[in-house]
Protein backbone atom coordinates (compact mmCIF):
# COMPACT_ATOMS: atom_id res chain seq x y z
CA UNK A 1 0.00 0.00 0.00
CA UNK A 2 1.29 3.46 -0.92
CA UNK A 3 2.05 5.80 1.95
CA UNK A 4 -0.68 8.17 3.10
CA UNK A 5 0.15 11.83 2.56
CA UNK A 6 -0.77 15.17 4.11
CA UNK A 7 -0.54 18.60 2.54
CA UNK A 8 -1.95 22.10 2.90
CA UNK A 9 -3.59 22.33 -0.52
CA UNK A 10 -4.50 19.31 -2.65
CA UNK A 11 -5.33 19.96 -6.31
CA UNK A 12 -7.11 17.12 -8.12
CA UNK A 13 -6.37 17.43 -11.84
CA UNK A 14 -3.31 18.74 -13.69
CA UNK A 15 -4.99 20.69 -16.49
CA UNK A 16 -4.63 24.46 -16.89
CA UNK A 17 -7.08 25.33 -14.07
CA UNK A 18 -5.41 22.92 -11.66
CA UNK A 19 -1.87 24.04 -12.47
CA UNK A 20 -2.85 27.69 -12.23
CA UNK A 21 -4.50 27.14 -8.83
CA UNK A 22 -1.48 25.15 -7.62
CA UNK A 23 0.97 27.78 -8.80
CA UNK A 24 -0.76 30.70 -7.09
CA UNK A 25 -1.32 28.79 -3.86
CA UNK A 26 2.36 27.75 -3.78
CA UNK A 27 3.51 31.29 -4.54
CA UNK A 28 1.63 32.46 -1.46
CA UNK A 29 3.57 30.01 0.69
CA UNK A 30 1.20 27.03 0.95
CA UNK A 31 2.41 23.42 0.67
CA UNK A 32 0.71 22.22 -2.51
CA UNK A 33 0.25 18.74 -3.97
CA UNK A 34 -1.30 18.30 -7.43
CA UNK A 35 -2.42 14.84 -8.56
CA UNK A 36 -3.04 13.83 -12.18
CA UNK A 37 -4.59 10.53 -13.24
CA UNK A 38 -2.75 10.41 -16.55
CA UNK A 39 0.87 9.40 -16.96
CA UNK A 40 1.62 12.55 -18.93
CA UNK A 41 0.25 16.02 -18.29
CA UNK A 42 -1.52 17.48 -21.33
CA UNK A 43 -1.72 14.23 -23.28
CA UNK A 44 -3.80 13.03 -25.00
CA UNK A 45 -5.10 16.44 -26.09
CA UNK A 46 -8.85 16.97 -25.81
CA UNK A 47 -9.22 20.46 -27.24
CA UNK A 48 -9.79 22.49 -30.41
CA UNK A 49 -6.66 24.46 -29.46
CA UNK A 50 -8.01 27.92 -30.30
CA UNK A 51 -7.41 30.45 -27.54
CA UNK A 52 -7.87 34.17 -26.94
CA UNK A 53 -4.84 35.96 -25.60
CA UNK A 54 -5.75 39.17 -23.76
CA UNK A 55 -6.05 37.39 -20.41
CA UNK A 56 -2.63 35.72 -20.31
CA UNK A 57 -0.86 38.63 -18.62
CA UNK A 58 -3.51 38.84 -15.90
CA UNK A 59 -2.65 35.32 -14.68
CA UNK A 60 1.10 35.49 -15.27
CA UNK A 61 1.43 33.27 -18.36
CA UNK A 62 4.25 34.30 -20.70
CA UNK A 63 3.48 33.52 -24.37
CA UNK A 64 6.06 31.15 -25.82
CA UNK A 65 6.74 29.67 -29.26
CA UNK A 66 7.00 26.32 -27.46
CA UNK A 67 3.19 26.17 -27.27
CA UNK A 68 1.98 28.72 -29.83
CA UNK A 69 1.51 27.30 -33.35
CA UNK A 70 0.45 30.59 -34.84
CA UNK A 71 -1.36 33.83 -34.22
CA UNK A 72 -4.48 34.41 -36.29
CA UNK A 73 -5.68 37.78 -37.56
CA UNK A 74 -9.34 37.08 -37.07
CA UNK A 75 -12.29 34.75 -37.22
CA UNK A 76 -14.66 34.07 -40.11
CA UNK A 77 -18.25 33.15 -39.39
CA UNK A 78 -19.99 31.22 -42.18
CA UNK A 79 -23.77 31.20 -42.51
CA UNK A 80 -25.53 28.03 -43.78
CA UNK A 81 -25.41 29.37 -47.36
CA UNK A 82 -21.74 30.14 -46.66
CA UNK A 83 -21.83 33.87 -46.69
CA UNK A 84 -18.94 35.09 -44.59
CA UNK A 85 -18.67 37.62 -41.80
CA UNK A 86 -15.15 38.43 -40.77
CA UNK A 87 -14.28 39.41 -37.22
CA UNK A 88 -10.85 40.93 -36.91
CA UNK A 89 -8.85 42.05 -33.96
CA UNK A 90 -9.87 45.69 -34.36
CA UNK A 91 -13.51 45.17 -33.49
CA UNK A 92 -13.23 41.94 -31.53
CA UNK A 93 -10.94 43.63 -29.02
CA UNK A 94 -8.33 40.87 -28.80
CA UNK A 95 -10.91 38.08 -28.51
CA UNK A 96 -9.19 36.26 -31.36
CA UNK A 97 -5.73 35.01 -30.71
CA UNK A 98 -3.58 31.92 -30.84
CA UNK A 99 -3.83 28.39 -32.08
CA UNK A 100 -1.83 26.42 -29.56
CA UNK A 101 -0.21 23.07 -28.94
CA UNK A 102 -2.35 22.16 -25.93
CA UNK A 103 -0.12 19.40 -24.57
CA UNK A 104 2.87 21.75 -24.55
CA UNK A 105 0.73 24.52 -23.01
CA UNK A 106 -0.51 22.27 -20.20
CA UNK A 107 3.02 21.03 -19.53
CA UNK A 108 4.31 24.62 -19.32
CA UNK A 109 1.66 25.51 -16.75
CA UNK A 110 2.50 22.39 -14.73
CA UNK A 111 6.19 23.35 -14.90
CA UNK A 112 5.30 26.85 -13.65
CA UNK A 113 3.33 25.27 -10.78
CA UNK A 114 6.19 22.89 -9.94
CA UNK A 115 8.75 25.70 -10.07
CA UNK A 116 6.60 27.67 -7.64
CA UNK A 117 6.92 24.75 -5.19
CA UNK A 118 4.04 22.40 -6.10
CA UNK A 119 4.64 18.66 -5.73
CA UNK A 120 3.15 16.66 -8.60
CA UNK A 121 2.01 13.02 -8.57
CA UNK A 122 1.24 11.37 -11.92
CA UNK A 123 -0.76 8.18 -12.50
CA UNK A 124 -2.70 9.15 -9.41
CA UNK A 125 -6.48 9.34 -9.47
CA UNK A 126 -8.93 10.35 -6.77
CA UNK A 127 -11.50 7.67 -6.00
CA UNK A 128 -13.56 9.51 -3.38
CA UNK A 129 -13.46 12.41 -0.94
CA UNK A 130 -12.52 12.09 2.73
CA UNK A 131 -14.97 13.80 5.04
CA UNK A 132 -14.80 14.81 8.66
CA UNK A 133 -18.31 15.74 9.72
CA UNK A 134 -19.57 17.64 6.69
CA UNK A 135 -16.14 18.97 5.78
CA UNK A 136 -13.97 17.72 2.93
CA UNK A 137 -10.52 16.88 4.32
CA UNK A 138 -8.84 15.28 1.31
CA UNK A 139 -9.35 12.35 -1.03
CA UNK A 140 -8.98 8.62 -1.28
CA UNK A 141 -6.59 8.00 -4.17
CA UNK A 142 -4.91 5.31 -6.21
CA UNK A 143 -1.39 5.45 -7.59
CA UNK A 144 -0.32 2.70 -9.97
CA UNK A 145 -3.36 0.83 -8.66
CA UNK A 146 -2.31 1.17 -5.00
CA UNK A 147 -4.92 2.79 -2.74
CA UNK A 148 -3.90 5.46 -0.24
CA UNK A 149 -5.24 8.62 1.37
CA UNK A 150 -4.27 12.25 0.97
CA UNK A 151 -5.32 14.59 3.78
CA UNK A 152 -5.46 18.31 3.01
CA UNK A 153 -6.55 21.53 4.69
CA UNK A 154 -7.98 22.66 1.36
CA UNK A 155 -9.04 20.38 -1.51
CA UNK A 156 -9.48 21.73 -5.05
CA UNK A 157 -11.60 19.92 -7.65
CA UNK A 158 -9.97 20.74 -10.99
CA UNK A 159 -10.96 17.45 -12.56
CA UNK A 160 -12.51 18.71 -15.75
CA UNK A 161 -15.76 18.08 -17.60
CA UNK A 162 -16.18 14.60 -16.11
CA UNK A 163 -15.57 16.01 -12.61
CA UNK A 164 -16.26 13.62 -9.77
CA UNK A 165 -14.91 15.57 -6.81
CA UNK A 166 -17.76 18.08 -6.72
CA UNK A 167 -20.38 15.35 -6.98
CA UNK A 168 -18.76 13.29 -4.23
CA UNK A 169 -18.84 16.37 -2.01
CA UNK A 170 -22.52 16.99 -2.75
CA UNK A 171 -22.20 20.08 -4.98
CA UNK A 172 -24.78 19.78 -7.78
CA UNK A 173 -22.93 19.93 -11.12
CA UNK A 174 -25.37 17.98 -13.29
CA UNK A 175 -26.19 19.51 -16.63
CA UNK A 176 -29.38 19.76 -18.67
CA UNK A 177 -29.24 18.14 -22.12
CA UNK A 178 -29.37 21.56 -23.77
CA UNK A 179 -26.34 22.63 -21.75
CA UNK A 180 -24.00 19.94 -23.08
CA UNK A 181 -22.23 19.48 -26.38
CA UNK A 182 -20.82 16.29 -27.83
CA UNK A 183 -17.62 17.06 -29.74
CA UNK A 184 -15.34 15.35 -32.23
CA UNK A 185 -12.30 16.66 -34.02
CA UNK A 186 -9.79 15.43 -36.57
CA UNK A 187 -6.38 16.89 -37.09
CA UNK A 188 -6.09 16.95 -40.87
CA UNK A 189 -3.19 17.53 -43.20
CA UNK A 190 -3.29 18.46 -46.89
CA UNK A 191 -6.30 20.77 -46.36
CA UNK A 192 -7.02 24.24 -47.77
CA UNK A 193 -7.09 26.10 -44.46
CA UNK A 194 -6.20 29.80 -44.23
CA UNK A 195 -3.60 30.37 -41.51
CA UNK A 196 -4.88 33.93 -40.99
CA UNK A 197 -8.28 32.84 -39.68
CA UNK A 198 -10.16 30.56 -37.36
CA UNK A 199 -13.32 29.55 -39.22
CA UNK A 200 -16.76 28.78 -37.76
CA UNK A 201 -19.68 27.24 -39.69
CA UNK A 202 -23.13 27.75 -38.17
CA UNK A 203 -26.59 26.29 -38.71
CA UNK A 204 -27.89 22.81 -39.40
CA UNK A 205 -24.44 21.55 -40.37
CA UNK A 206 -23.93 21.33 -36.58
CA UNK A 207 -27.27 21.35 -34.71
CA UNK A 208 -26.97 23.59 -31.67
CA UNK A 209 -23.23 24.02 -32.14
CA UNK A 210 -20.75 24.74 -34.92
CA UNK A 211 -18.03 23.28 -37.12
CA UNK A 212 -14.59 24.79 -36.49
CA UNK A 213 -11.41 24.99 -38.51
CA UNK A 214 -8.43 26.05 -36.43
CA UNK A 215 -5.26 26.20 -38.57
CA UNK A 216 -2.10 24.72 -37.02
CA UNK A 217 0.20 25.43 -39.97
CA UNK A 218 -0.01 25.78 -43.74
CA UNK A 219 -2.18 22.84 -44.91
CA UNK A 220 -2.68 21.51 -41.35
CA UNK A 221 -5.77 22.20 -39.23
CA UNK A 222 -7.99 20.98 -36.44
CA UNK A 223 -11.37 20.30 -38.04
CA UNK A 224 -14.01 19.72 -35.40
CA UNK A 225 -17.65 19.88 -34.43
CA UNK A 226 -19.82 20.39 -31.38
CA UNK A 227 -23.49 19.38 -31.38
CA UNK A 228 -26.00 20.07 -28.64
CA UNK A 229 -27.23 16.94 -26.86
CA UNK A 230 -30.85 18.11 -26.85
CA UNK A 231 -30.78 18.24 -30.67
CA UNK A 232 -29.22 14.80 -31.18
CA UNK A 233 -31.51 12.07 -32.47
CA UNK A 234 -29.17 9.30 -33.59
CA UNK A 235 -26.06 7.82 -31.94
CA UNK A 236 -22.66 9.05 -33.18
CA UNK A 237 -24.20 12.39 -34.19
CA UNK A 238 -20.97 14.35 -33.78
CA UNK A 239 -19.08 12.01 -36.10
CA UNK A 240 -21.92 11.74 -38.62
CA UNK A 241 -22.32 15.52 -38.95
CA UNK A 242 -18.57 16.18 -39.05
CA UNK A 243 -17.95 13.51 -41.69
CA UNK A 244 -20.80 14.92 -43.76
CA UNK A 245 -19.44 18.46 -43.51
CA UNK A 246 -15.98 17.31 -44.59
CA UNK A 247 -17.41 15.31 -47.51
CA UNK A 248 -19.23 18.45 -48.70
CA UNK A 249 -16.11 20.63 -48.62
CA UNK A 250 -13.58 19.60 -51.29
CA UNK A 251 -10.78 21.61 -49.63
CA UNK A 252 -11.12 19.31 -46.62
CA UNK A 253 -12.46 16.11 -48.23
CA UNK A 254 -9.06 15.70 -49.91
CA UNK A 255 -7.31 15.96 -46.52
CA UNK A 256 -5.84 13.14 -44.49
CA UNK A 257 -6.73 12.55 -40.87
CA UNK A 258 -3.79 12.07 -38.55
CA UNK A 259 -5.55 12.31 -35.19
CA UNK A 260 -9.03 12.03 -33.70
CA UNK A 261 -10.22 13.61 -30.46
CA UNK A 262 -13.59 13.40 -28.71
CA UNK A 263 -15.02 15.15 -25.73
CA UNK A 264 -17.88 16.64 -23.80
CA UNK A 265 -18.25 20.38 -23.29
CA UNK A 266 -20.60 22.15 -20.90
CA UNK A 267 -22.49 25.12 -22.34
CA UNK A 268 -24.42 25.90 -19.19
CA UNK A 269 -25.19 28.93 -17.06
CA UNK A 270 -22.78 29.38 -14.12
CA UNK A 271 -23.17 26.97 -11.18
CA UNK A 272 -24.96 28.38 -8.15
CA UNK A 273 -22.35 26.95 -5.80
CA UNK A 274 -18.66 26.16 -6.34
CA UNK A 275 -17.45 25.85 -2.73
CA UNK A 276 -18.25 23.85 0.36
CA UNK A 277 -16.41 23.35 3.65
CA UNK A 278 -12.85 22.34 2.74
CA UNK A 279 -13.42 22.28 -1.03
CA UNK A 280 -13.40 24.61 -4.03
CA UNK A 281 -14.17 23.71 -7.67
CA UNK A 282 -12.42 25.41 -10.58
CA UNK A 283 -12.44 25.35 -14.39
CA UNK A 284 -14.54 22.86 -16.39
CA UNK A 285 -15.34 21.06 -13.11
CA UNK A 286 -17.09 24.26 -12.02
CA UNK A 287 -18.77 24.61 -15.44
CA UNK A 288 -16.85 27.79 -16.25
CA UNK A 289 -16.71 27.15 -20.01
CA UNK A 290 -18.03 30.01 -22.14
CA UNK A 291 -21.44 28.66 -23.29
CA UNK A 292 -21.29 30.57 -26.57
CA UNK A 293 -17.79 29.65 -27.78
CA UNK A 294 -17.13 26.46 -25.81
CA UNK A 295 -13.77 27.93 -24.75
CA UNK A 296 -12.68 27.11 -21.21
CA UNK A 297 -8.96 27.75 -20.80
CA UNK A 298 -9.08 31.48 -20.13
CA UNK A 299 -11.90 31.28 -17.60
CA UNK A 300 -10.33 28.29 -15.85
CA UNK A 301 -6.98 30.07 -15.51
CA UNK A 302 -8.49 33.37 -14.37
CA UNK A 303 -10.56 31.58 -11.72
CA UNK A 304 -7.56 29.37 -10.89
CA UNK A 305 -5.45 32.34 -9.88
CA UNK A 306 -8.15 33.59 -7.52
CA UNK A 307 -8.74 30.06 -6.22
CA UNK A 308 -5.05 29.51 -5.47
CA UNK A 309 -4.72 32.79 -3.61
CA UNK A 310 -7.83 32.12 -1.51
CA UNK A 311 -6.64 28.56 -0.79
CA UNK A 312 -3.31 29.85 0.54
CA UNK A 313 -5.08 32.44 2.65
CA UNK A 314 -7.28 29.71 4.16
CA UNK A 315 -4.18 27.68 5.02
CA UNK A 316 -2.52 30.65 6.73
CA UNK A 317 -5.63 31.66 8.67
CA UNK A 318 -6.57 28.08 9.55
CA UNK A 319 -10.08 28.72 8.25
CA UNK A 320 -11.07 26.56 5.26
CA UNK A 321 -14.83 26.90 5.74
CA UNK A 322 -17.34 27.59 2.99
CA UNK A 323 -17.68 31.05 4.53
CA UNK A 324 -13.95 31.73 4.11
CA UNK A 325 -14.15 30.50 0.51
CA UNK A 326 -16.77 33.13 -0.31
CA UNK A 327 -13.83 35.34 -1.29
CA UNK A 328 -13.21 32.92 -4.19
CA UNK A 329 -16.91 32.44 -4.93
CA UNK A 330 -17.44 36.21 -5.11
CA UNK A 331 -14.10 36.87 -6.80
CA UNK A 332 -14.52 34.60 -9.80
CA UNK A 333 -18.15 35.65 -10.21
CA UNK A 334 -17.24 39.35 -10.21
CA UNK A 335 -14.72 38.65 -12.97
CA UNK A 336 -16.60 36.09 -15.12
CA UNK A 337 -20.23 35.52 -14.20
CA UNK A 338 -21.97 38.32 -16.07
CA UNK A 339 -20.39 37.34 -19.38
CA UNK A 340 -21.03 33.64 -18.78
CA UNK A 341 -24.69 34.30 -18.13
CA UNK A 342 -25.10 36.71 -21.04
CA UNK A 343 -23.41 34.28 -23.41
CA UNK A 344 -25.59 31.43 -22.14
CA UNK A 345 -28.69 33.51 -22.99
CA UNK A 346 -27.24 34.28 -26.41
CA UNK A 347 -26.50 30.57 -26.94
CA UNK A 348 -30.07 29.65 -25.98
CA UNK A 349 -31.30 32.04 -28.68
CA UNK A 350 -28.78 31.10 -31.35
CA UNK A 351 -29.44 27.36 -31.13
CA UNK A 352 -33.09 28.01 -31.94
CA UNK A 353 -32.44 29.95 -35.16
CA UNK A 354 -33.34 28.54 -38.55
CA UNK A 355 -30.75 28.38 -41.32
CA UNK A 356 -32.71 31.11 -43.09
CA UNK A 357 -32.37 33.44 -40.10
CA UNK A 358 -28.65 32.71 -39.77
CA UNK A 359 -28.25 33.64 -43.42
CA UNK A 360 -30.05 36.94 -42.89
CA UNK A 361 -28.00 37.82 -39.83
CA UNK A 362 -24.68 37.19 -41.62
CA UNK A 363 -25.93 38.95 -44.74
CA UNK A 364 -26.89 42.04 -42.74
CA UNK A 365 -23.48 42.11 -41.05
CA UNK A 366 -21.54 41.85 -44.30
CA UNK A 367 -22.66 45.24 -45.51
CA UNK A 368 -21.84 47.31 -42.42
CA UNK A 369 -18.72 48.50 -40.71
CA UNK A 370 -19.00 47.58 -37.05
CA UNK A 371 -16.74 49.62 -34.83
CA UNK A 372 -17.10 47.32 -31.92
CA UNK A 373 -18.46 43.81 -32.07
CA UNK A 374 -21.07 43.25 -29.42
CA UNK A 375 -24.56 41.81 -29.34
CA UNK A 376 -26.17 45.25 -29.36
CA UNK A 377 -24.31 46.48 -32.45
CA UNK A 378 -24.92 43.23 -34.30
CA UNK A 379 -28.65 43.40 -33.63
CA UNK A 380 -28.82 47.02 -34.72
CA UNK A 381 -27.22 46.12 -38.04
CA UNK A 382 -29.64 43.24 -38.53
CA UNK A 383 -32.64 45.42 -37.61
CA UNK A 384 -31.74 47.98 -40.27
CA UNK A 385 -31.86 45.34 -43.01
CA UNK A 386 -34.22 42.65 -41.71
CA UNK A 387 -36.50 44.25 -39.11
CA UNK A 388 -38.63 41.07 -38.88
CA UNK A 389 -35.63 39.01 -37.75
CA UNK A 390 -34.86 41.20 -34.74
CA UNK A 391 -38.37 40.72 -33.37
CA UNK A 392 -37.05 37.48 -31.89
CA UNK A 393 -34.27 39.39 -30.14
CA UNK A 394 -36.11 42.30 -28.57
CA UNK A 395 -34.87 41.26 -25.14
CA UNK A 396 -31.26 41.81 -26.16
CA UNK A 397 -31.89 45.30 -27.58
Amino acid sequence: MAKDLTTDVLVVGGGPSGSMTAKWAAKQGARVLMIEKRQEIGSPVRCGEGMSKEWLKEVGIVPSPRWINLEVEGARIYSPSEQVFEINEKHAGNEVGYVVERDAFDKQLAIDAANAGTEVLLKTSATGVLKDGGRVVGVRAKQFGEPFEIRAKVTIGADGFESQVGRWAGIPTNLALRDMDSCLQYRMTNVDCDTRYCDFYLGKVAPGGYVWIFPKAEGLANVGIGVQLSQIKEPAAAKTFLDKWIANHPGYAKGKKIDVVGGGVSISPPLKQTVTDGLMLVGDAARMIDPLTGGGIANGCIAGKICGEVAAKAVHSGNASAAAFQEYEKGWRARLEEKLYRNWLAKEKLVSLSDETFDKVIDALQGVKLLKLNVHNILKAVRDKYPEVTKEFEAFL
Binding site: P44, G160, S182, C183, L229, V261, G263
Partner: protein, 63 residues
Protein backbone atom coordinates in the same frame (compact mmCIF):
# COMPACT_ATOMS: atom_id res chain seq x y z
CA UNK B 1 -32.15 -6.85 -14.25
CA UNK B 2 -35.56 -7.98 -15.51
CA UNK B 3 -37.36 -5.50 -17.72
CA UNK B 4 -34.32 -3.29 -18.14
CA UNK B 5 -32.83 -2.72 -21.58
CA UNK B 6 -29.22 -3.71 -21.89
CA UNK B 7 -26.50 -1.12 -22.23
CA UNK B 8 -23.25 -1.89 -23.98
CA UNK B 9 -20.19 0.34 -23.95
CA UNK B 10 -17.66 -0.62 -26.61
CA UNK B 11 -14.40 0.39 -24.98
CA UNK B 12 -11.95 -2.01 -26.61
CA UNK B 13 -10.86 0.89 -28.81
CA UNK B 14 -12.60 -0.12 -32.03
CA UNK B 15 -14.98 2.82 -31.61
CA UNK B 16 -14.25 4.40 -28.22
CA UNK B 17 -11.81 7.33 -28.21
CA UNK B 18 -11.65 7.45 -24.38
CA UNK B 19 -12.85 11.05 -24.26
CA UNK B 20 -14.91 10.60 -21.04
CA UNK B 21 -17.89 12.48 -22.47
CA UNK B 22 -20.14 9.65 -21.19
CA UNK B 23 -18.54 9.81 -17.73
CA UNK B 24 -19.20 13.53 -17.54
CA UNK B 25 -22.81 13.49 -18.67
CA UNK B 26 -24.05 10.55 -16.56
CA UNK B 27 -26.60 12.07 -14.16
CA UNK B 28 -26.12 9.16 -11.74
CA UNK B 29 -22.33 9.18 -11.87
CA UNK B 30 -22.21 5.48 -12.65
CA UNK B 31 -19.82 5.37 -15.63
CA UNK B 32 -16.10 5.01 -14.92
CA UNK B 33 -13.00 5.44 -17.08
CA UNK B 34 -10.12 3.37 -15.77
CA UNK B 35 -7.08 3.73 -18.02
CA UNK B 36 -8.38 2.22 -21.26
CA UNK B 37 -11.55 0.61 -20.04
CA UNK B 38 -14.95 2.16 -19.52
CA UNK B 39 -17.39 0.43 -17.21
CA UNK B 40 -20.76 1.29 -15.75
CA UNK B 41 -22.65 0.19 -12.67
CA UNK B 42 -25.48 -1.99 -13.91
CA UNK B 43 -27.36 -1.60 -10.60
CA UNK B 44 -27.39 2.19 -10.66
CA UNK B 45 -27.89 2.83 -14.41
CA UNK B 46 -31.48 3.72 -15.32
CA UNK B 47 -30.89 3.50 -19.11
CA UNK B 48 -31.63 7.22 -19.48
CA UNK B 49 -29.54 7.13 -22.69
CA UNK B 50 -27.87 10.51 -22.16
CA UNK B 51 -24.48 8.82 -22.57
CA UNK B 52 -25.67 7.37 -25.88
CA UNK B 53 -26.34 10.91 -27.12
CA UNK B 54 -23.09 12.28 -25.72
CA UNK B 55 -20.81 9.66 -27.26
CA UNK B 56 -19.37 11.39 -30.36
CA UNK B 57 -18.58 8.11 -32.12
CA UNK B 58 -21.57 5.91 -31.25
CA UNK B 59 -19.69 3.48 -29.00
CA UNK B 60 -22.61 3.08 -26.60
CA UNK B 61 -25.58 0.97 -27.57
CA UNK B 62 -28.81 0.37 -25.81
CA UNK B 63 -31.47 -2.12 -26.77
Amino acid sequence: MPGKKSLHIESSGQLCVYCSACVGVCPLNCIYLDETRITFDERVCTRCEICVKACPVGAIEIG
